[in-house]
């Protein structure tokens, strides 16, 4: 009898109105928390932007020296210490992420077409779970393979002594280089792109492809001109996702790109590929112990807000790129 009474009471207590308000309150709280976090990061980074203005994104001085000065100033220090020109870090990020995403986009498209269409059936069956597995491998394992396999290979077999000697006054070339970072990042984001592209290609309406074949267009053209074209929203989505992941990759790139705030110079010829650098996310990871210095703290949060805004702009760009493609949405 007690149970029945309690059941009635419970029924009335959890009325829909109360439930909706409670759930809504939880959603509001989480929303407010996340928005507060974003605002906090930008506000903490503001002093660094305020002092440098647009020159924050420019070049000027040795970025490592500027970080050192900020660190040495400690909790106090003049405003001059906020000087920071992040161009070497931004350039490094652009090179590594841009290079990896471009390479990955081109190759993933072909591989996705291969996996969905042109591969023999037995290969298709095995590749499907393999791609999914590779997409979920933690980045630190890719970093491990990079440091133990790619970096020694680049250091011992690709960099010649003459090249090393020619720049030895400025930087030391070892296997920790731009090309190692780009290679590993490509291998890391490719499975993600391939998985999304393949899903998109698989959801192209079959009758579109059959109609094209019936008109006498060969298999390659059918798939390329009709299938890939129709799957463009998925291609955009996959590229945006992979770029966001590459942008935020800190640990793996900190392991393989060498940690020097150096802007690789394309005019150096072949040496350009072997120059060490340090992208934005890796900079945050490596300087995170210097939070006790006010200037360094504001600078690190400024870098974090640049990453945040880039991630937001990326998803906005993805959304914008998908709008004109809406007419290709599969029926």
């Amino acid at each position: 009898m007690d149970d029945e009474l309690l059941f009635e009471q419970r029924l009335h207590w959890w009325s829909d109105r109360r439930a909706e308000l409670t759930l809504g309150a939880v959603v509001c709280a989480v929303l407010a928390g996340v928005v507060a976090m974003l605002v906090f990061v930008v506000v903490q980074g503001w002093p660094s932007f305020a002092h440098n203005g647009l020159a924050w994104f420019g070049s000027g001085g040795n970025v490592d020296q500027q970080i050192k000065d900020m660190f040495s100033a400690g909790a106090s220090g003049s405003r001059d210490v906020y000087t920071f020109h992040a161009w070497p870090l931004i350039w490094s990020t652009l090179l590594i992420v841009g290079g990896a995403v471009t390479l990955s986009l081109v190759s993933s498209l072909f591989v996705a077409v291969f996996v969905v269409e042109f591969a023999p059936d037995w290969m298709k069956q095995t590749l499907h779970p393999v791609v999914r597995l590779l997409a979920s491998v933690p980045s630190v394992i890719y970093g491990l393979i990079g440091v133990l396999v790619i970096v020694p290979f680049v250091g011992n077999h690709l960099i010649t002594q003459a090249e090393k000697a020619s720049v030895s006054h400025i930087i030391s070339l070892s296997g920790y280089s731009l090309i190692a970072g780009v290679m590993i990042l490509t291998v890391m984001i490719s499975p993600l792109m391939i998985a999304i592209f393949a899903d998109g290609l698989r959801s192209v309406p079959r009758h579109w492809l059959e109609a094209s074949l019936a008109l006498g267009i060969n298999r390659w053209r059918t798939f390329w001109k009709v299938g890939v074209r129709a799957a463009r929203p998925a291609i955009v989505a996959g590229t945006v996702l992979a770029t966001a992941r590459a942008l935020g990759e800190a640990v793996m790139l900190a392991m393989v790109t060498g940690s020097v705030g150096f802007a690789p110079n394309p005019f150096d010829g072949a040496i350009f590929l072997f120059e060490p650098s340090r992208p934005l996310a890796a900079t945050i990871l490596q300087q995170v112990e210097g939070l006790s210095s006010a200037a360094l703290k504001h600078t690190l949060f400024a870098i974090a807000s640049v990453l945040l805004v880039s991630a937001m702009l990326l998803s906005l760009a993805g959304w914008a790129a998908k709008q004109p493609l809406k007419k290709y949405a599969a029926a």
Binding site: K68, F71, G74, A165, S292, S293
Partner: protein, 282 residues
């Protein structure tokens, strides 16, 4: 039914949340030198056996970073490997033990001696090829490995070897002492500076500086040019008493002296166990 459930929940939360009456357990939070970390780990463990209520949490982020942490209140104590500077205002430095900053090369390198001037040349980017040092038996480019500015060792090296010049951009900076040792182990063309504790590593080879070997015997008499003290740093205003007690124990007790010797450095003020050893001092 429901009251039973509430009762059970209350008991469970009490069990989980309330700490037992033996609340004298205390954690001391510190940060600083990575050179000192091998010594500190053993010293913390030994001190915990002497005073079971005290445990330590130490972050090796570099000597200079440790001092900044103490200044900003993020650590209760720090360990640094350079003497105090004016920028360390608000902190008190106490000497702990003597360490030598050794110059290491890869074990395949046959170099045996360097002068301070030659060392400065390597670490400012003036000398870049091993062919300039015939004793090494190599003719490849020098890969110099060093520390970054969070390290007290970096400040000491800049003052003692580079005479105030900045470390060259050709030097591959590493975040800790252990990372410098690892980098040298992997690269036959490398040279770098790290503490005495790394001398036990079979992949590294010590190089004499100005003809003097980096060994405890020479560090003790300060004959080795790069001998330096390891310092304990704590805030001048209201330092923690337990930190000071630990400092005294580490500086003066016999047990701490034995640990320091075993890991590789030279106790400076510790009492020794056997009386007759005192007569062997010169």
């Amino acid at each position: 039914m429901q009251s039973k459930r509430i009762g059970l929940a209350a008991v469970l939360s009490a069990f989980l949340l309330l700490s037992p009456a033996a609340a004298s357990a205390k954690t001391l939070i510190g940060s600083g030198s990575s050179v000192a970390q091998p010594y500190l780990q053993s010293l913390f463990a030994a001190y915990h056996r002497v005073r079971p209520g005290i445990s330590f949490l130490y972050t090796a982020d570099g000597g200079n970073a440790g001092v900044k942490d103490v200044q900003s209140g993020r650590s209760q104590f720090a360990v640094n490997t350079r003497p105090p500077l004016p920028s360390d205002a608000g902190t008190t430095y106490v000497k702990l033990w003597l360490d030598g900053l050794c110059i290491y090369v890869n074990s395949q390198n046959k170099l045996s001696n360097l002068s301070i001037g030659e060392l400065a040349g390597i670490f400012t980017g003036v000398s870049t090829s091993w062919s300039q040092f015939p004793g090494s038996g190599l003719s490849t480019t020098i890969d110099a490995v060093g520390r970054d500015s969070t390290a007290g060792t970096f400040s000491f090296f800049t003052a003692a070897v580079l005479n105030g010049q900045t470390q060259g951009s050709n030097v591959n900076t590493q975040a800790s002492d252990g990372l410098v040792a690892n980098a040298i182990k992997h690269d036959p063309n490398s040279i770098g500076y790290a503490g005495l504790a790394r001398a036990k590593d079979p992949g590294l080879k010590k190089v004499n500086v100005n003809g003097v070997a980096c060994a405890p015997a020479f560090v003790k008499t300060l004959k080795y040019p790069l001998s330096r003290f390891v310092w304990m740093v704590f805030p001048t205003a209201s330092p923690d008493l337990d930190v000071q007690k630990f400092t005294d124990w580490a500086r003066t007790s016999v047990q701490a002296g034995e640990i320091i010797t075993k890991v590789g450095a030279v106790p400076a003020f510790n009492k020794t166990a056997h009386k007759h050893k005192k007569h062997k001092k010169h």
